[in-house]
């Protein structure tokens, strides 16, 4: 019963945070809304027995990634010109179409979810070691070792890419 309450609360916070990202004029507000959203997701992860991921979500996203975002936002805010008014409606019906099709997408997915038969067949509360850090570590370093290693390569590429992008600009000067 408690978990239900927590779920509904967290879900509500997540939706509010998402709405904030969507609607905020100021990028800083957006970023802060996103942090809220991510925190709520972390709670939901805990509810789903994903302790490790909940921690990672908070640490990496809400911590590292969002700090990066805020850093960039504040760095560039000074140079940002306000969007020109005449540009606002250049893309006719963009808002309308995006909202419409986003809604249709939601309806379609919801339709599938509600119509699926696994709604009733919930997994039992007795989950054993599922979701523990040990279980996660075992899965990651045995069965999924290769993908794990590959992520290292992805990160390396990203690091090199960022350095190159940063340097190139300096070299041009």
């Amino acid at each position: 019963m408690l978990s239900s309450v927590v779920f509904w609360l967290a879900a509500a916070v997540a939706i509010v945070g998402a709405g904030g990202v969507l609607l905020a004029r100021n990028p800083v507000h957006s970023a802060l809304s996103l942090v809220v959203n991510l925190a709520a997701l972390g709670v939901l992860f805990l509810l789903l027995h994903a302790e490790f991921l909940a921690v990672v979500e908070i640490l990496v996203y809400a911590g590292a990634v969002m700090v990066l975002f805020l850093f960039v936002v504040t760095l560039l805010m000074a140079g940002t010109k306000t969007p020109k008014e005449e540009h606002r409606f250049r893309l006719a019906y963009q808002f309308l179409l995006a909202g419409l099709f986003g809604f249709i997408l939601l309806v379609l997915v919801a339709h599938v979810m509600l119509g699926a038969d696994w709604i009733s067949s919930l997994a039992g509360p007795n989950v054993g070691s599922f979701g523990s850090i040990a279980a996660f570590g075992t899965a990651l370093f045995t069965q999924y070792l290769l993908p794990f290693e590959l992520t290292a390569v992805v990160l390396l590429v990203a690091v090199i890419g960022v350095i190159v992008l940063g340097r190139e600009h300096g070299a041009n000067r």
């Binding site: 179409l97 986003g102 997408l105 379609l108 599938v112």
Partner: protein
């Protein structure tokens, strides 16, 4: 006779040396090499001739084979030579008269900047002609045939800065190639029907062909022969060919090239024997050409042009002979003609040389006293060409006319006799205009150097005495010599009655010829008659313009091909390329029509992705 290939290789080698090393060798050494090659080839040919002479007549035919040229499916061929009495005569003519012309050229071309190139071409010409007359099959005959065409092209266009020479060379080559195609087609038919192209193979299997096939082959061969030997209406290139240096004209008209057509028919006599229609055609066109060309020669003013038309006319006689199966007589006339025509051309060359390039007879006259050697030798050549009794042309021409009459070709004989009258008239007109009367030019004529006059003398002796090889009613060494060749297959020999002299006919032509000489003397010998009687002017105009054959040919063929070519080019640009470019434009148009969708707005692209994704999801979930 395996060594006979040496006769061919000598000029080939000479030509190669002159072409590659001519510049470093210098003029003198080059002329030694090339003229020496011809001299040696002549000696070699004489040795072949003598060795042949020492054998009994039946064994005078050799066919040395050297290598397999190609074997591709049903086309299989070896390179081999055919050395028999007929080719031996040609070997002697080509190398002998060729040698004299080479020798003469040393003097004539003395000042030319491209001396070495000229001699390289001359040797190439001789080589090509030797290949032609010694090949033992139709394909290598064609090889020589084409090579002769090439060499003539090079030599006619030798003075390549003259537009007239260049266009004459091209005319000669294209017409010759048209003739080549005739022979090529004949070869195809032979390969298809008989599977062989060697003379012996073809001639011994002619009976297995239908008469239509044989006629077709014969006509195609005749097409080649007529193109090369300047038979009406394919003669148009020959008079233009005098654009080349005069020794070249001598070589083309006397020793090589134009005789090839006669040789081909004389060689392929079993085919023509089996194709009576084609043979009649050959004889008829021959007789017509003889008369036709003689009339044109009557009014031309260019000394070389007159002689050129005289050649066309004389070739008509030879074709008349081979057309009525008088092969030996035809070859006899060919040989005599080689002497006196070479003599006439070289003599004309001597005159032109003396007048520093002047070729218009209206600006000559009275040269007798300036050029005594040329005068006397030229006189012999003139008499021989005219058929004045007891000169060589008299014997050979009368042999042909006599056999025409004896084989029942009365009309051909009549045309021949009329042509003989005109022959004497035009050649003596030339002679009197050039050498008699008073000098009408403004140069300082001088006699040519010995290197030019010696060949004249040698040729004059040939033109004077050659005819006595076959004296009517007494002996005929020529027929005897060629008998082994023409008795091999049916149809080569005329019945004995036909070769017997017809004294009445001989007397008639002799009288006519002498009458022509008398007319010429009266009209042109004493003084030149500039103005023509009114009634003759249109005729003169037609004759002077060579019956407008050039213009007609130009209009019919050149114009048509040009128009076709322009049309094809237009088609290529407009239709073929147009369709392609149209398709390209269509694609481009589509692209341009669709380009606005590529708005460059990232968010629009994103929206498109979303819409597409929604449809996909909808399809997956709802359908």
């Amino acid at each position: 006779m395996q060594d006979a290939i040496g006769i061919l290789l000598l000029p080939a080698l000479g030509s190669l040396i002159a072409a590659v090393f001519g510049r470093s060798l210098g003029r003198k050494a080059t002329s030694y090499v090339t003229v020496g090659a011809m001299a040696l080839a002549f000696v070699w040919a004489v040795s072949v001739f003598l060795r042949m002479l020492s054998l009994p007549p039946a064994q005078r035919s050799f066919d040395p084979v050297y290598w397999q040229w190609i074997k591709a499916g049903s086309l299989s061929l070896h390179f081999g030579l055919l050395i028999d009495p007929l080719s031996a005569i040609f070997l002697l003519i080509v190398t002998g008269i060729g040698f004299l012309i080479h020798l003469y050229s040393i003097g004539y071309m003395h000042d030319d900047a491209n001396f070495q190139r000229f001699f390289s071409y001359l040797n190439l010409f001789a080589f090509a002609m030797l290949v032609l007359v010694t090949a033992d099959n139709f394909l290598f005959l064609l090889v020589g045939w084409g090579a002769v065409g090439l060499a003539s092209y090079l030599l006619i266009g030798f003075w390549h800065t003259r537009p007239s020479a260049v266009s004459a060379a091209r005319k000669a080559l294209v017409l010759n190639v048209a003739g080549d195609v005739g022979i090529m087609l004949a070869i195809f038919i032979l390969v298809m029907t008989l599977g062989r192209v060697s003379y012996s193979g073809v001639f011994s299997h002619i009976s297995s062909l239908t008469s239509l096939q044989v006629e077709l082959i014969a006509f195609l061969l005749y097409l080649g022969a007529a193109a090369k030997s300047a038979q009406f209406p394919l003669h148009v290139w020959l008079p233009d060919a005098m654009e080349g240096p005069t020794p070249v004209s001598a070589l083309i008209h006397a020793a090589t090239m134009v005789t090839a057509g006669v040789y081909l028919i004389a060689r392929a006599y079993p085919i023509f024997h089996a194709a009576p229609v084609a043979a009649e055609w050959v004889a008829g066109i021959g007789a017509f050409t003889a008369l036709f060309a003689a009339t044109i020669a009557l009014v031309q003013n260019d000394i070389k042009r007159v002689i050129a038309y005289s050649t066309v006319s004389q070739l008509g006689y030879m074709f008349l002979a081979v057309g009525i199966s008088a092969y030996a007589a035809g070859i006899f006339h060919l040989t005599m003609h080689a002497f006196f025509k070479a003599l006439l051309f070289l003599g004309a060359g001597s005159v032109i040389h003396a007048l520093s390039g002047e070729q218009d007879m209206r600006k000559m006259g009275g040269l007798k006293k300036f050029l005594p050697i040329t005068y006397w030798t030229f006189l012999i050549g003139t008499a021989a060409n005219a058929g004045v009794p007891f000169f060589s042309g008299f014997f050979s021409k009368d042999a042909i006319l006599g056999e025409a009459l004896a084989t029942g070709h009365f009309w051909l004989w009549l045309v021949g006799v009329v042509a003989a009258f005109f022959s004497a008239l035009y050649i003596f007109r030339l002679f009197f205009l050039v050498f008699h009367g008073t000098y009408r030019g403004d140069g300082h004529p001088h006699e040519s150097p010995p290197v030019m006059t010696v060949p004249l003398v040698v040729l004059a002796i040939g033109a004077l005495l050659g005819g006595y090889l076959a004296v009517p009613g007494a002996w005929n060494l020529f027929d005897q010599w060629l008998a082994p060749v023409y008795s091999r297959y049916p149809g080569g020999l005329l019945p004995a009655a036909a070769t017997a002299p017809n004294w009445g006919a001989i007397a008639l032509t002799s009288v006519l010829v002498l009458a022509a000489v008398w007319v010429a003397w009266n009209l042109f010998g004493r003084q030149v008659r500039e103005e023509l009687p009114e009634g003759l002017r249109p005729i003169h105009k037609v004759l002077y313009n060579k019956y407008y054959i050039d213009e007609i040919g130009h209009a019919v063929f050149v114009w048509t091909v040009d128009r076709l070519a322009v049309l094809a080019d237009l088609f290529d640009r407009v239709v073929v390329d147009g369709i392609v470019m149209g398709i390209a434009a269509l694609v481009k148009g589509w692209g341009e029509a669709l380009a606005p969708f590529q708005s460059g707005y990232l968010r629009r692209y994103g929206l498109a992705v979303l819409i597409g994704g929604v449809f996909v999801v909808a399809y997956l979930t709802l359908v």
